[in-house]
Amino acid sequence: MGFLQLLINGLLLGGVYALIGLGMTLVFGIVGLTNLAHGELVILGAYASTLLASALGVDPILTLAVTLPCMYALGYALQTLLINRAMEKGNEAALLVTFGLSIILQDGMLLLLSADARHAATAYGTTTLRAGGLNIPLLNLVMFGISLVFVAGLAFFLNRSYTGRAIRAVSDDRDTARLSGINVRKIYAVAMGVATAGAAAAGLCVGMKWTFYPSSGGQYLLTAFLVTVIGGMGSIPGTLLAGLSFGLAQVIGGANYGLLISYGVMLLVLAVRPAATSWQ
C-alpha cells in the first residue's frame, strides 16, 4: 500500500512537471531555441493567477480564462518583436535575448511585486480524498487534471488544425513548409504564444501548490530543462512521461535524493539518446 501511495503521489505531481516542461520543449522543437526565460514566465503566470484570484475573490483556476489568452499574446509579441529579429543574427543572439528577458522579468517582478513569498490559496488546498486506504490530495488531483486537459488540448490542436499541422511541418522541414505557403516566422510566434500560455497554466499550479518569489524562475527553468531532455525534446507523450518520472523521482527520493535521481536519469538519457528530435 505504501508503494502505491508513493506511486499516486508521484504521478499526480508529475503532471505539473510535465506542464512546466511542455512550453520549453515546444519552443525547442519548433523554433530551435532554448528559452532561458521560461522559468520566469512560469512565475509570471503564478503571480498573474495569484493576484487576479485575490483581487476578484475567485478560485485561482478561473483566472486561466484571463491569463491563458494574455500570456499567449505576450509570448506571440515577444517572438514577433524581439526573438524573431534576434534570430536573424543567429540562434546565439536569440539565446542571449531570452537570457536578458529572464533578468528583466525577474527584476521587474521584484520591483513591482516585492520579494515577499506568495501563494494562491484555494478552498481545497488541504483537502484529502480517501479511497481504498489511499490518501489523495485533492489539489494534486486538480493540478493533474489541468495538466492533462492542457496536454490533450495541445495534442488536438497540433493534430487537427491547419495551424497545428503547420507547426509540425515547420518543425520537420522549414524550407518545404515555406513552399507550402507557411509563414515560418508567424508559426514561431504561435508556438511561443502557446508555450507561454502553457507557462501560465504551469504557473497557476506552482502558485497553488508551493510558495514562490520573483527569483523562483531558475528552479522551474531547471525542471523544464530536465523534463525536456528526458522527454526527448520532441513529443507530447515523451514530455508527459518525463514529467511523471520526475514527479516519481521527487516523491521516492524525497528532499535529499529526488533531484539526484532525476539528474541521474537525465544523464542516462543524454548518454543513450543524445540526439534531439523535432516536435511531433
Partner: protein, 234 residues
C-alpha cells in the same frame, strides 16, 4: 503568365545565375534544361521566393513578385515541387497533403483538392495514414506533387522530379504531369537534365549553361544537335 527578366542569383561571391530571362504563357508546359551546376535550381528557387535574387525581375500574371517570400508566392498561385520528393517525414501522408492547403485561398477547396490528388495518385490514398517517411522515392515525389496541388496553383514548377528515380517511376510521374496540365489547365515550368523526356511534353524549352539562357524556342523546333551544342557548350 510568368516572366523572368535578367535574373541574377549570387551565393556570396559566386554568381549562380548571371542573366536569365524566360517567359511562359498561360497553359504552356515549359522546360529549363541544363547540366549540373548550370543554375537551373537557383533560377526556380529565386522565382519561388526561397532565395532573394541579386538582380532582375520576376513577374507573375503581370504582377512583380521579385523577392517576395515563398509563402506569398504560393498565395499568388505559383508553387514549386522541390527536388528529391521533399516531404514532412514524421507526419502522415494525409497530414502532408493537408499542409499543402494551408494558404487561406486553398482551404475552402481542400476536400475537393484531396479527392483530385487521390484520383491522380491512388497509392497515396492507400497509404494516407502511413508516415510519409516510409514511402518509396517515387511515392514521395507523388506526395510532393500532391501537396503542391493542394494549394490550388495556377502554375506548377518542378525541380528535377526524375532525379534518382527508377525509369518506371519517372514514366508514371511524367504521365501525371501531363494529366495535371491537361485536366487541370495548370501551367507547368520544369527543370530537367533528362532532355528527351522533357522535350517530349514541353511546348517551349530553355537551355541554361553557366548561369545564362543560351538557347530557347518551341520544343518541337529545337534539333537535338542544337540542344547538345548549347547544353555542353560545344
Amino acid at each position: 503568365m510568368l516572366r523572368v527578366e535578367n535574373l541574377q542569383v549570387n551565393y556570396g561571391d559566386f554568381r549562380a545565375v548571371s542573366s536569365a530571362s524566360i517567359a511562359v504563357r498561360k497553359g504552356e508546359t515549359a522546360s529549363v534544361l541544363g547540366t549540373n551546376g548550370s543554375g537551373k535550381t537557383s533560377l526556380l528557387q529565386a522565382v519561388a521566393g526561397l532565395i532573394t535574387p541579386a538582380g532582375g525581375r520576376v513577374l507573375f500574371e503581370e504582377e512583380e513578385i521579385t523577392g517576395l517570400p515563398a509563402e506569398q508566392v504560393v498565395e499568388r498561385g505559383l508553387s514549386l515541387v522541390p527536388q528529391g520528393g521533399k516531404c514532412f517525414p514524421r507526419m502522415s501522408v494525409y497530414d502532408n497533403l493537408m499542409v499543402g492547403s494551408y494558404p487561406k485561398h486553398a482551404r475552402p477547396h481542400a476536400q475537393k483538392s484531396l479527392e483530385r490528388v487521390f484520383g491522380l495518385f491512388p497509392v497515396l490514398q492507400e497509404k494516407r495514414r502511413d508516415p510519409a517517411g516510409t514511402l518509396s522515392g517515387g511515392q514521395r515525389q507523388m506526395l510532393a506533387i500532391g501537396r503542391a496541388m493542394m494549394a490550388a496553383p495556377k502554375c506548377l514548377m518542378f525541380d528535377e522530379i526524375s532525379l534518382g528515380l527508377a525509369p518506371v517511376a519517372i514514366g508514371e510521374l511524367y504521365a501525371c504531369i501531363r494529366r495535371i496540365h491537361q485536366e487541370e489547365n495548370i501551367t507547368v515550368l520544369m527543370v530537367e537534365q533528362n532532355t528527351e523526356r522533357a522535350l517530349r511534353i514541353s511546348d517551349v524549352s530553355f537551355v541554361m549553361r553557366k548561369g545564362e539562357i543560351v538557347l530557347s524556342g518551341p520544343a518541337s523546333g529545337l534539333s537535338s544537335a542544337e540542344i547538345r551544342a548549347a547544353y555542353f557548350g560545344i
